[in-house]
């Protein structure tokens, strides 16, 4: 059925969920956060609180959690020594028919003042990482986001067929963005951009520069280092 504009009616509850209710969505969010990490490098859950909004057979959990990142001792991975650090995360986890879907993940070190990005849009669809082709009706679920994308970036398409095709590309790209997100070791957030309706091939062909790796170019003399100046 079509996704309503505001599926979560105004029955918002306070941050008072019991530990028992939080267990499954928090564990799922943590698993997604640690996706792709080797044993010994995974973060562990500290404190967590949450609230839930329910509609039909679905529950949308909003979680705030502290995660403890292990110290990094591998000079190949982190050239600068890093001690254990605490990360504050906001998660939104959709639970429907006992299946979970991570809709949003927004994490930053506790001491960082990176609140300016709190309003980032949907950026996490991690459970779909290894599902190809697209899960049935996934494009339909993406339709509201795609509509927002078209509005935000002033996109029009020549035909209904092209719009449908672009929606499929967009949905696939959301999954691609989440693969990239899962494998990024920095603080970058990946998600919807103005290039979200382009296939990987289109993006490479139109915007990138293949000559940089194919040709060596003109030889230049080395710059004097600053010490020599």
């Amino acid at each position: 059925s079509p996704v309503p504009a505001k599926p979560w009616a105004d029955d918002e509850q306070a941050w008072n969920l019991s530990s028992q209710e939080l267990l499954a969505p928090a564990r799922f969010a943590l698993d997604m956060y640690n996706y792709g990490r080797a044993a010994g490098t995974r973060a562990v859950l500290g404190a967590v609180r949450g609230r839930v909004r329910r509609a039909g057979q679905g529950s949308l959990f909003s979680l705030e959690a502290t995660l403890e990142e292990p110290p990094c001792n591998d000079p190949l991975v982190c050239p600068l020594p890093e001690t254990k650090k605490t990360v504050l995360c906001s998660f939104e986890v959709l639970e429907e028919l006992k299946e979970h879907l991570l809709l949003r993940r927004d994490c930053s070190p506790v001491n960082a003042k990176v609140t300016e990005f709190r309003n980032a849009t949907f950026s996490s669809f991690l459970p779909l990482l290894d599902k190809d082709p697209l899960p049935q009706d996934f494009s339909v679920k993406m339709a509201p986001l795609f509509k927002d994308f078209m509005t935000t970036y002033n996109r029009t398409y020549e035909s209904r067929e092209e719009a449908q095709w672009r929606l499929t590309v967009f949905a696939r790209n959301m999954i691609r963005a989440q693969k990239i997100q899962a494998l990024d070791r920095g603080t970058a957030q990946y998600g919807i951009t103005k290039f979200s309706d382009l296939t990987e091939e289109e993006f490479h062909t139109i915007y990138l520069n293949p000559l940089l790796q194919k040709e060596s170019g003109r030889k230049m003399s080395p710059a004097k280092s600053i010490n020599d100046l």
Partner: protein, 214 residues
């Protein structure tokens, strides 16, 4: 090198530009560098013409790509660069319309920088923004924050995008490069990309260069 540096705060960087549907990043990377060099050596910040390079640099291939090293040579051979106002960006190749009388800046030479990121940082802080090339892995979907892609996915051997280093620093103890991109200010952090600094992430250290303005 100082612990952090940002040429944007010192007036050496023009507004973020937009290459449009054209693989002309190489031209934007080079004009950004020359803009900085001219400002630091002559005291005037001028927005310079990428279209001149698309049209008149016959070694490079306009929207199909190019190399900064060739572009420096073209600028030197042509006799300089016109400004953006005088030779505006069209996003597709046209007949060369460069006039030496209209050139507002010139360069004397170009140099290749060290691959050592500490030396690159020191050079940047003292001499100005630097043209670099990177592997653009993930940039299609980058929104904000410091990108630090898993190395095998962002190999230094697959360089496919030229950009401009304008500064560096640390956010929450994570070292980064501040990179001016040419995809408009509605991409990334107001047109900028932040990339992990210190591990040669995405090949950022492999093709650093600059024009020389005496």
């Amino acid at each position: 090198a100082p612990p952090e540096w940002d040429w944007r705060k010192k007036g050496a960087v023009t507004e973020v530009k937009n290459q449009g549907m054209c693989g002309s990043c190489w031209a934007f990377s080079v004009t950004g560098n020359v803009e900085g060099q001219w400002f630091l050596n002559r005291g005037t910040l001028l927005s310079l013409s990428e279209q001149e390079l698309l049209d008149c640099d016959k070694v490079d291939k306009a929207c199909l790509g190019g190399l900064p090293s060739n572009a420096y040579a073209a600028i030197k051979n042509l006799g300089g660069l016109e400004t953006e106002d005088d030779y505006g960006y069209q996003g597709h190749v046209q007949t060369c319309n460069f006039s030496a009388q209209m050139a507002k800046v010139y360069i004397n030479d170009s140099v290749e920088l060290s691959r050592n990121e500490n030396k690159i940082a020191a050079w940047l802080a003292q001499k100005g923004p630097i043209s670099v090339a990177i592997n653009a892995f993930g940039m299609q979907f980058y929104r904000h924050g410091i990108a630090h892609p898993f190395r095998p996915l962002c190999s230094p051997w697959f360089i496919d995008h030229a950009v401009l280093l304008v500064g560096y620093g640390n956010r929450s103890n994570i070292p980064y490069w501040a990179i001016k991109n040419s995809w408009g200010s509605d991409w990334g952090e107001e047109g900028y990309y932040y990339l992990y600094r210190g591990s040669g992430a995405c090949g950022v250290n492999t093709m650093a260069s600059s024009a020389v303005v005496n």
